[in-house]
Symmetry: C2
Subunit: 386 residues, 2 copies
DNA sequence: AAAACTTTGTTTAACCAATATACAAAGTCG
DNA sequence: CGACTTTGTATATTGGTTAAACAAAGTTTT
């Protein structure tokens, strides 16, 4: 059944519009909101009153007057509740407790020794319980848990396939919701990272963003029109297996010449010369110390990174690309080659408005984005397309 | 200023919902519409009455009863007006006059000898005038003109760049609207083709579709969530310049190893052996007659087509891919290799729900899609996202 | 300092679209 | 022929936005 229009819908649209306007622009008065949104002053007053009752908006004193009554300044009440954002990595579990605006209140971290589901689930539950215990007293309490995982996830929060964990069809959302009775949002690690960067990193006011997470493989989070694009069954963005060498090295996916064989940590196995180290942080240290083999390795990977990016640019035409994941820490040795290749290979019109940047949230992008998803799910978001 | 909700919006949403429900499902009664949409019977009655006054809906007699009063059957009045759909090709101009539901009423065709703007524009105007003259008398007359062009188009109907025409920044929409005072929609040829296939070809009920137009180059039209995705400045889908051989043949775009060098008509230049012909229709004829070189050429191109498709599948995860454009006529000699490569190279989860098909509209997909765009623009489409 | 003007936010009455309910119209079936 | 069904319309109610008037709280001018 499709979505029909009635007065309840109108109210939902306008309330959502006002709430998110306040959330994105602090220091607004009712009068300014009325101007910005086009809603009548009376409508704004009524809906703001409801949002205040719901503890989502606060009056925080008066602002400066420009020849009349002083405006009453409204704030989004980010501490009306908390959310937990978590990232499940191959060797590590990390999580944050955030307010509803993504501000980090607590962090947690634990190593993972193995990948069997009971073990990992136990660790996740322990970490979540720990953060819930640390949560400050708020009106709504902990209202959502978001988790970014290294694999494909469907719309029901089932991890369909996570090769690095050897997981298949794990009903992660259901398992966690049964334990905590709090809404759980599961998403791909790159998708969460994209949301993190869009909302708290470089992505302010960007409508089309590509977040490329380079680590043990490559995954992309695709933001289209300000929204996460997930593909027909929820797992688009598997760009790591895009072929960039038709008859290249065979890949575990069944194809050959996949991008991530050349531009992720998997490339270490293909290095022409022996490397001083085969872990990214160590290799970065060697590069910083002037090791030629390490620098050369990153230069080659930067080139291939650029080739894959060019393909993504031609296909998606984003305004901004953010490089994240563990490999983004090697920026200094990757960037020059990468930018050169992109400059040389992209179509002239694409160059004009494209920016390629490295993550500002670093390794925290995914968990912050996952927390943000949970917060948005709690706040709701209804709007109209013409 | 953002879109706010009020009663006018509610009415617009519901009216649009009813109109498009009737358009897509003939033989509906008011009662069935009420059931399908969830709208109250009275609401449906009121809005249908308005649509009848606007000549967009007709009562066409009664249907079968199942034990009560016979239902009054409603039809979308496709002949309330006409639209023109046009395709601008390198050597040819083709156009159709359609009713509001995409049914072709008249066709026109003319060769193009050169590409300078005044000449092409003159030909376009002559053809459009001719079709307008042939249009049957309808309530609204000709309500829109849609044009598919081989190049990048921005949201203002400006052809930014069309290498095969040597056009740059041509304000095509403005030029045509000034001549005819009818709304004009300009779009990329592949985008229009995608819309054509989505609505009148293989794409019924498909939400994520990729239309790959293979001819003198390769372009893709991307349908996401039932809507055309155009990228940040309106020209995504330039997938022909996706790199599939990192150090491959240099391309005119500045890059190397671009897909369209190996899988479009450009591949004829790279053929290992001498070909019996260098025009697609002739080469197809040779292949049909058993010519080994021609068949081998198509087999190789099918392989490369499959490699590029695999990349698109991993990135966009569509439900359906439709191959169109002149090369789709060589289906018999392309398909086997292409499907084999895709089957071998795509990730297991992508295979499950993916179908790759060849165009059913053939060379008419683009102009029919362009006409459809114009019709949709006239009818309007307002809906809600949650 | 008083009067005039400005700006903010609330109150009031009017409007209008969807809805539930009742109802009329037009059929089927035993 | 009477009981039941289904379709489509009429009526009163509900509940949201809005324009306009107004109250509150400032600043500027005289």
């Amino acid at each position: 059944m499709k979505v029909t229009g009635d007065q309840a819908l109108v109210k939902k649209i306008n309330k959502s519009l006002i709430l998110h306007t306040i959330r994105k622009h602090p220091e607004l008065s009712r009068a300014r909101i009325s101007e910005m949104t086009g809603l009548n002053k009376a409508t704004v007053s009524n809906l703001v009153a409801e949002l205040q009752e719901e503890q989502l908006v606060l009056e925080v004193g008066t602002g400066e007057s420009s020849g009349g009554r002083k405006p009453l300044i409204l704030h989004f009440h980010a501490m009306a509740g908390c959310v937990i954002g978590m990232e499940l990595r191959v060797k590590q579990l990390t999580a944050v407790l955030c307010d509803l605006n993504g501000k980090v209140l607590h962090e947690a971290e634990a190593p993972l020794q193995q990948h069997d589901l009971p073990y990992v689930l136990e660790n996740m539950k322990t970490m979540i319980s720990g953060l819930i215990a640390k949560a400050p007293p708020t009106h709504y309490g902990v209202v959502g848990i978001g988790v970014g995982v290294p694999g494909m996830v469907d719309e029901d929060g089932v991890v369909l396939f996570a090769p690095n964990l050897a997981w298949e069809k794990v009903e992660l959302r259901k398992l966690l919701e049964e334990s905590f009775s709090i809404p759980v949002i599961i998403d791909n690690e790159a998708n969460s990272g994209a949301l993190g960067e869009l909302n708290f990193g470089r992505g302010e006011d960007v409508r089309h963003l590509l977040y490329v997470s380079a680590g043990s493989g490559i995954g992309s989070g695709i933001i289209i029109g300000g929204e996460l694009y997930k593909g027909s069954r929820g797992y688009a963005g598997e760009t790591g297996h895009m072929c960039i060498e038709a008859e290249g090295t065979p890949c575990s996916c069944g194809s050959r010449g996949c991008w991530e064989l050349y531009a992720s940590e998997k490339a270490y196995d293909l290095a022409a010369v022996e490397l001083p180290a085969y872990q990214t942080p160590e290799l970065i240290r060697f590069a910083a110390e002037g090791n030629a083999a390490a620098r050369q390795q990153f230069a080659v990977m930067g080139t291939y990174l650029g080739i894959g990016l060019t393909n993504l640019i031609n296909g998606f035409n984003p305004e901004l690309i953010v490089i994240g994941g563990p490999l983004s820490e090697a920026r200094t040795w990757l960037e020059e080659q990468m930018q050169q290749v992109v400059a040389r290979r992209t179509l002239p019109y694409h160059k004009q408005q494209l920016e390629i940047a490295f993550s500002t949230l670093g390794s925290r992008a995914t968990m912050i984005g996952a927390g943000f998803s949970a917060a948005m799910h709690f706040l709701g978001h209804t709007r109209v397309m013409v």
